[in-house]
C-alpha cells in the first residue's frame, strides 16, 4: 500500500510543480509582449466603400506562443444598432516572432444611411466597441474590451437651397439660379453631382439641371444650379427634387418646396 501512495504523491507533486511553473512563466510572458499601433490608413475600395486599415505590430518575446489573436471593431449608432463590424484573426504568433496584423474595417456609407439619413445632415457620435482577444501560451484565453465614441461629421451639414433667382435668358425662357450651400464636416471629400428638378404648382416638371460637387473635408461649399425654364411654366410656388450622387453614397429624391 505504501508504494502506490508514494507514487500518487510523487506524481501529484511533479504535476503541481509543472502547473505552477507553467502558470508563472505564462503570466510573466505577458510582460514581454509588446504591442504597437501603426499609422491608420483610409482608402476607397473599388466597391466604393471606405476601408480603414490599422496596422497592429506585435512582438512576442515571452516564453510561449500566443494563439487565436483577434481584434474586433463594432461601430454602432446612439441607439445601439450595429452599423459595421470588422474582425482580424491570427491563429498563432510564435515566440520571438514579430508580426504586423492589418485590422480592416469597411464602411459602406449606404448601409449607414439605411439606419438614419440624419447622418448626412447632422453631426452626431458613433459608438465604437473594440475587443482584443488572445490565448496566452495557446491555452489561457484573455480578452480586453473597451468602449468609446467618436464624433461623426455630417458631409452635407446645414444643406440649404435658397430662393431661386430668375433672369431673362431669351424671349421664351428664363434662367433660374438656385443657390446651394452646405458644410462638409466629414472626414472625406464630397465629390459628385447634384441634380435638381423643378416642379411648378401644377405638379408638372418644368426643367432640370445639375452641377458638380467638390467639397473637400471640413470645408464649406457654395454654388448654384442653373435651370432654364419656359416663361409660361413659371408659378410663384412649387418644389425642387434634389438627387445627390457621389461614389460613396446616393441620396434622393429630396423634396424642397419653394415660393
Amino acid at each position: 500500500m505504501n508504494i502506490p501512495i508514494r507514487m500518487i504523491g510523487i506524481a501529484t507533486t511533479i504535476f503541481w510543480v509543472f502547473l505552477i511553473i507553467f502558470s508563472i512563466t505564462a503570466a510573466y510572458s505577458v510582460k514581454d509582449l509588446q504591442f504597437g499601433f501603426g499609422e491608420p490608413q483610409m482608402i476607397m475600395t473599388p466597391q466604393n466603400e471606405l476601408l480603414f486599415t490599422l496596422p497592429i505590430n506585435i512582438y512576442n518575446r515571452g516564453y510561449y506562443n500566443i494563439g487565436r489573436f483577434n481584434v474586433t471593431t463594432e461601430i454602432s449608432d446612439a441607439n445601439g444598432n450595429q452599423i459595421i463590424r470588422g474582425s482580424s484573426f491570427t491563429p498563432v504568433i510564435r515566440k520571438d516572432e514579430k508580426v504586423t496584423i492589418l485590422h480592416n474595417v469597411t464602411l459602406d456609407f449606404n448601409d449607414l444611411l439605411q439606419f438614419s439619413q440624419t447622418y448626412l445632415f447632422t453631426d452626431s457620435e458613433l459608438n465604437i466597441a473594440e475587443t482584443i482577444g488572445l490565448s496566452l501560451a495557446e491555452v489561457i484565453p484573455v480578452q480586453a474590451s473597451g468602449n468609446f465614441s467618436i464624433p461623426w461629421g455630417a458631409p452635407l451639414y446645414n444643406f440649404r437651397m435658397d430662393e431661386p433667382q430668375y433672369a431673362a435668358h431669351n424671349f421664351t425662357h428664363l434662367r433660374v439660379s438656385v443657390p446651394i450651400s452646405f458644410e462638409n464636416h466629414a472626414f472625406f471629400d464630397v465629390v459628385g453631382t447634384i441634380q435638381v428638378s423643378m416642379y411648378n404648382s401644377s405638379n408638372q416638371r418644368v426643367c432640370s439641371g445639375q452641377t458638380s460637387l467638390n467639397a473637400p473635408q471640413h470645408s464649406p461649399y457654395s454654388s448654384y444650379v442653373e435651370l432654364y425654364i419656359m416663361m409660361t411654366s413659371v408659378t410663384p410656388s412649387g418644389r425642387f427634387e434634389v438627387n445627390i450622387q457621389t461614389p460613396l453614397f446616393s441620396y434622393g429624391p429630396w423634396v424642397i418646396p419653394y415660393g
Binding site: M1, N2, P4, I5, I8, G9, A11, T12, F15, W16, L19, I20, S23, I24, T25, A27, Y28, V30, K31, V139, I140, P141, V142, Q143, A144, S145, G146, N147, F148
Partner: protein, 153 residues
C-alpha cells in the same frame, strides 16, 4: 515501544524534532513563495488584490502544513493533510471566481479565462485528497495489524 514513547525525554526529543522539521518546511515553503513572487510581481501591478490573495493563501497553507507536521505519527496528520487539500480546492474556486477573472481599468475591461488551469488544479487537489484518505486508511490498518500482532505475542 509504548514505554519509549511515554518516556518524557523521548517525547521532548520527538516534539523538538517535529518542531524543527515543521520550521524547516515552513521556511522552505515561504522561500519558494518569495522566489516565485519576484516573477509574479510585474503582473500583480495590474491586478490589485492579487498579492493579498496569494499571501493569505500561503499563510493558511503553511499553518496547516506546520500543524500537520506536529501531528505526524497520528491519524490527525492525514486529517490536516486532507484539510489542506480541501482548503486549496475551496480557495482556488473562490479566489479565481470559478475560473473567470475580470478587472476594469478606466473604460477598458479585462477578462481572463482560467477554467482550464482550475480544472487541472482541481484534479491534482482531488488526487491529493484521495492520497490523504488512502494514507489514513493505511495508517489505521497498519496500527490494527500491529495491535493484533502484540496481542498474539
Amino acid at each position: 515501544m509504548a514505554d519509549n514513547q511515554s518516556n518524557p525525554k523521548t517525547r521532548i526529543k520527538n516534539i523538538t524534532f517535529k518542531a524543527l522539521k515543521a520550521t524547516i518546511k515552513g521556511v522552505l515553503a515561504y522561500a519558494i513563495y518569495f522566489i516565485l513572487w519576484t516573477f509574479i510581481a510585474p503582473v500583480a501591478q495590474f491586478l490589485p488584490g492579487l498579492q493579498q490573495m496569494i499571501e493569505t493563501f500561503v499563510a493558511v497553507y503553511i499553518t496547516l502544513m506546520i500543524i500537520g507536521e506536529f501531528t505526524a505519527g497520528t491519524v490527525y496528520q492525514y486529517f490536516f493533510s486532507a484539510a489542506k487539500t480541501l482548503f486549496v480546492i475551496g480557495y482556488l474556486i473562490l479566489s479565481l471566481n470559478g475560473g473567470m477573472i475580470g478587472a476594469t481599468f478606466e473604460s477598458i475591461s479585462l477578462l481572463i479565462d482560467l477554467r482550464l488551469f482550475l480544472v487541472v488544479a482541481m484534479i491534482l487537489s482531488l488526487l491529493g485528497l484521495a492520497k490523504s484518505v488512502i494514507q489514513a486508511v493505511n495508517f489505521m490498518n497498519e496500527r490494527a495489524d500491529s495491535y493484533a500482532m502484540l496481542e498474539r505475542a
